[in-house]
């Protein structure tokens, strides 16, 4: 019972960390139709900046997160203007190749600047301690990740379903030409949503660093995981991404606890079964 509870807690927190990173990718893929394999690379940049801020500048965790998010978005905006804009309406293969190329470049340059070592992000004392929930105690950091995930999910839902920006975004996605005719500046909408997705990935990279450690090949190692999760959830769907992250996170963590020598076997088996059963993802939309 004790083991089951701790596995469940770990799986929930891990699923939430995955969710914060992957939801941005789900947005770019579902709403803007760009297969952005470099998404993990932006999470990695966020992690590197936060680690640099925390260890070399001695800033607090909150400042580290803010710096990471702002810095990553500042790096990503020129990339969007110069590179991504040209592949919005190209084939999936072109998008995959271009974004793998961007990933390789980011890995090469980041390691040239920061050196090829594992980066840790120092946690503040409040988050490093276990918190007593009454029936059992849990690492404060995990609670923080879970809370952040819930806030991100709720906030995004509100933004897309309930605000003017969300209406414009959905209009631009449904029919870009008609949206432009009605006076919506689609390129600004696209740039803003791209920046939002990148900001979420950087945030997820920092808060998820306990589960997915920041290391030189981070972007490549988890590229597949992120892509798989989004595809299983159905690109563009917030509840779908949440369900996929919790399901796959649970399978991954449980597998690692109970049958560690099988590695990712059950994770990928589950992926194949889900994709075969739901070719558009758990809650994907029909195009």
């Amino acid at each position: 019972m004790q083991t089951a509870l701790s596995i469940a807690m770990d799986a929930f927190a891990y699923g939430m960390a995955l969710f914060i990173i992957c939801i941005g990718l789900s947005l770019t893929m579902g709403l803007m139709r760009v297969v952005n394999l470099a998404h993990g690379a932006f999470a990695m940049i966020g992690g590197y900046i936060a680690s640099w801020a925390g260890r070399d500048l001695g800033l607090g965790y909150g400042f580290g997160i803010a710096l990471a998010v702002i810095g990553t978005v500042l790096i990503a905006i020129p990339l969007e203007r110069l590179l991504y804009r040209r592949i919005y309406d190209r084939s999936e293969l072109s998008q995959v190749l271009m974004t793998i190329g961007i990933t390789f470049c980011i890995i090469g340059i980041t390691n040239y600047i920061f050196g090829p070592t594992l980066k840790t992000i120092p946690l503040p004392a409040e988050l490093a301690q276990p918190v007593d929930l009454g029936f059992r105690s849990i690492a404060g950091h995990r609670l923080f990740v879970i809370a952040s995930g819930l806030v991100v999910a709720g906030g995004l839902w509100f933004l897309i379903e309930r605000t003017g920006f969300g209406i414009h975004l959905r209009a631009a996605v449904e029919n870009a030409g008609m949206a432009r005719t009605l006076g919506i500046r689609t390129e600004i909408i696209y740039a803003l949503s791209f920046a939002l997705a990148i900001a979420l990935s950087a945030f997820g990279g920092v808060v998820g660093a306990e589960f997915l450690p920041i290391e030189p090949y981070y972007a490549l190692r988890y590229m597949v995981t992120f892509l798989v999760v989004v595809s299983v959830g159905g690109a563009g769907s917030i509840p779908g991404a949440l369900a996929a992250c919790l399901l796959l996170g649970a399978i991954d963590v449980t597998g690692r606890y109970l049958v560690p020598d099988f590695g990712n076997f059950f994770f990928y088996l589950a992926v194949i079964l889900v994709v075969c059963a739901f070719p558009r993802g758990l809650m994907g939309r029909a195009h």
Binding site: S94, I100, G108
Partner: protein, 335 residues
Amino acid sequence: MANATLQSAAAPRLRPLGRDLIGLALIALAGLSGYWLFPDNLAFLTRVISVALLVLSLDLVVGYCGIASLGQAALYGAGAYAAGIACINGITDPILLILIGAVAGAVTGLFTGAVMLRAHGLPQLVLSIALVQLLHEAANKASWLTGGSDGLSGMAPAPLFGVFEFDLWGRSAYLFGLCLLLVVFAVLSLIVRSPFGMVCRGLKEDPLRISALGIYAFPVLLKMFVISGAVAGTGGALAAIATQVVGLDSVSFELSANALVMLVLGGIGHLYGALIGTVIFMALEHTVAAINPFHWMTLVGAVLIAIVLFAPRGLSGTLDQIAALLTRRGGRAGR
């Protein structure tokens, strides 16, 4: 009258055949010059040939059927492990081992194709990745059969035709591989030009129209997957015979992604493109990655971005365009 139409139909058919023969001669020439110029690097050159077979097989799926795959190494690894396990268990004739590898690759192709063809677009890509990762984990777990993360070693293939030994210098392995490449290339040139190859191209260009013509896509594509698996398995078996080690990296996402990069560099939808891309990529990797692996990654990334932006048809496509530009004037004057 009937005779005349037959002749005029036969005449243009000769031309691609002649071009194929010249192409095969060029490949043989390049291969032999590699043999004379780099006698100390034959092991590396043999690896280039085996990866070239993998990239050719990927071209069949991506270039001729339009199915993006990031899991082609599953087929290559299946061939390599099948040949390696057979060799350890007493089947040592190299040609038989290559056949075993090809059959194993074809069977894996049948299986992965049947799974991948259930989806389209992005989920299909994800399925290909999941399949190669699944096989990777399975090969790692079944260490009693595959040697796990230590790799499968201890193979001792018998001399080719009982005469040419697979020695430390790798001369016979390289020449064997070169002959294998020539045979595979010749067969593939015929296949992609056959009515079956044309249907595959048609399915890539316009699936709706092909199905309106009364052709059911699934068995056609599955057949191409099986052929592609046989080619990839041949490459894997060649690597197993030549290096006498099969590692987990032969069935990995990294190898699959690299194969796709090589194919794109050379040009999708050209058999020659697959070869050009493999040779250039692996030669560069051999030299630059030895200096600094991170510089190598930056370089590959920059090249990929440049190809997507400036030369979407790869090197061979760009060469074709240049050739077309140069010959356009002459060709028009001739007519």
